[in-house]
Symmetry: D2
Subunit: 213 residues, 4 copies
């Protein structure tokens, strides 16, 4: 099995992106799955384009995108991407779309096709906090997740895809009182656990993991 | 203009539902809009059924559903409902669906058709906190929002619909340290402002209101 | 019984101070207690000086000081003031003392002499969240609480004193996502309940109200 | 220099106490300071007694007590201990004192005599979040800190003392949504940095580190 693992470059004034730092440290083979890594610009349009080219070249079985969710407490596995760009801040090239459709005539949303509940369960079993998230936001993370799932839906070969958000690392919260963080090595362990779960579960497991709101 | 305003009964062990208490106090006519109120059971399936019957009987121009989001800080106007039920807790009749489709062959999501940015802006202008939310959860609130928007999409007459989540009221947080709340009278003022905005804006305004995640 | 009720002017860039706005709205007589109000500058030294002069002139039975604790969720009744000034931000005249003693040769701390548990209990009974706080910070609020309790300890006539922190009001959090608030009218009701409790309880009640940290 | 490093056993239903686990992993000599470790029961009275005996036996230059502050985000260095026990929950032997003086005729508070600002600064410089805390609560942590500082004040030989609170470790928050944590290895690094700072600074540094409330 071949897995394309992407991560964004730093954005929003941060010096690092913990998603990118963690992806660099993930082993090249995890549970017999070949991991091909790709850095992606935090730029609307270009992000999708770069991953689409890699998909065509690498022909992976799975595309797993990783992004920073500064302020979240745990490894959050995204359930769904919605067909809208609505940027509160500018991306790395100054774009700030407001309420724009990502793919004209595309469906309103795509659900992740990786086993989100099994991933959460596997990460928790190694002692790290994780949960299903029902929103990937409306910035470049959701944009890329939507674009990748749309791309995968159009392939002849069946390919699965999904998105995982990771917290700040400790160095990013030294000057931010009361912001949660997770150590880089724990993030790496969580991502490798996620990859293992993706390799082990074709269908997802039936575990409660919803939210009231 | 006629607006159907719904609110859930108490759930999750609460003695009251602030959404329901607030809806009872909304004036019957707000900014020349006739407001018809409906209490809805916090029960999968039955919630949609009850509102669907009211829509057929009342033939409103707008359906606005209100729910409690205990733990949220502000009046949150939902952007999107997704086609999934995933209950962390049981509903008021003991149902706890996990990862079930709401409408088989329905679209993956529906976007609200009320002017969400204009509503947020109008509520803020009367001095109350409000924001766009990109997830209505996966419990009965999202379920009803999806079901109502699906129902409205199938009507001959154009009808708009949406969902607003309101915080706990103070009495609900007396025994909950560090839980945010909003006074009932402020929630009522916010809902009336929302109704006014719905009457004033057919198309939404272009204001930044997205989130990074 | 005569109660001197003080509140600070706005600080930290805020347009209003909810403590001051609430104090203005407290009735002049609450539960047969005469309430004398005083606005106090958010300035080290001058704050204590102004209240000391009022104490000498008014000869109150109780001095109750009110301050803003933006970010706190409830009405917090302070248990203790410590003999240190340590300002993270400048006061309203640009002073920013770091780790300075408030009263040289003063005791390390003063405990409030108002019935803090009875006040919390009375506020909760009217349906509003309240708790005992074990720190009034190290800015002008703690400074004034320490200075007032020191002043009262030196009086011939027995006088009781204490400090209550109140949350932001809604207008202050419109531009602050995920900040808690309380409506001004609820703050006023809470302060009047506190005054009533002070009049009713000479000794405090024995109720659990501590914190692990 | 000889430093007595204490940590509590698990309490409040937890399986582990991160303070104890971290202390076990601190090296026996840190920056030429000999570290003597002591496990302390989370029991009013007995906690102080056990540390007092160790002080008499070991004759340390510094006593540094470590406790768990589940819910805090960073390594918090306590500034002050107050002369009161007020337990919200029972200790490990079922004691739950409410508003009791720790030492009759003792001063109302003791300030830490370790360099709290220098410790915070040193921990931040290795990339971990840390801050000064102005309350150690009113449970066994504050109780021990007060008791130790009182004991040290009565010694002939000058001895310094203080208290540091550490967050939950990841395994403790797997079943606690939205609770902050810090990896055990980062807590260990922070404690060793604190010990290094204690060895390097006899007088504290003048850095802003206060709080408004």
């Amino acid at each position: 099995m071949k897995l394309l693992l992407t991560a964004f470059d730093p954005f929003g004034g941060e010096a690092v992106n913990p998603a990118l730092e963690a992806v660099k440290m993930v082993r090249p083979v995890v549970s017999a799955i070949e991991v091909v890594k790709l850095e992606v610009p935090t730029v609307f349009g270009k992000a999708i384009e770069k991953v689409r080219e890699a998909i065509e070249e690498i022909q992976p079985d799975v595309v797993l995108c990783i992004g920073q969710a500064g302020g979240r407490f745990d490894i959050s596995v995204e359930r769904v991407a919605i067909n809208i760009d609505d940027a509160r801040i500018a991306d790395n090239e100054g774009n700030q779309p407001i309420d724009c459709t990502i793919v004209v005539d595309g469906p309103p949303a795509y659900f992740a096709t990786i086993p989100i509940k099994a991933i959460v369960d596997t990460i928790r079993k190694i002692g790290l906090p994780s949960s299903v998230s029902n929103t990937a936001g409306t910035f470049v993370c959701n944009h890329l997740m939507y674009g990748v799932l749309h791309t995968l839906a159009l392939q002849d070969k069946p390919m699965r895809g999904g998105f995982i958000h990771v917290p700040f690392i400790p160095a990013q919260v030294v000057a931010r009182p009361n912001a949660p963080c997770m150590s880089l090595s724990d993030i790496v362990r969580a991502l490798e656990a996620a990859i293992t779960a993706i390799g082990s579960f074709t269908d997802d497991v039936k575990l409660a993991g919803g939210k009231e709101f």
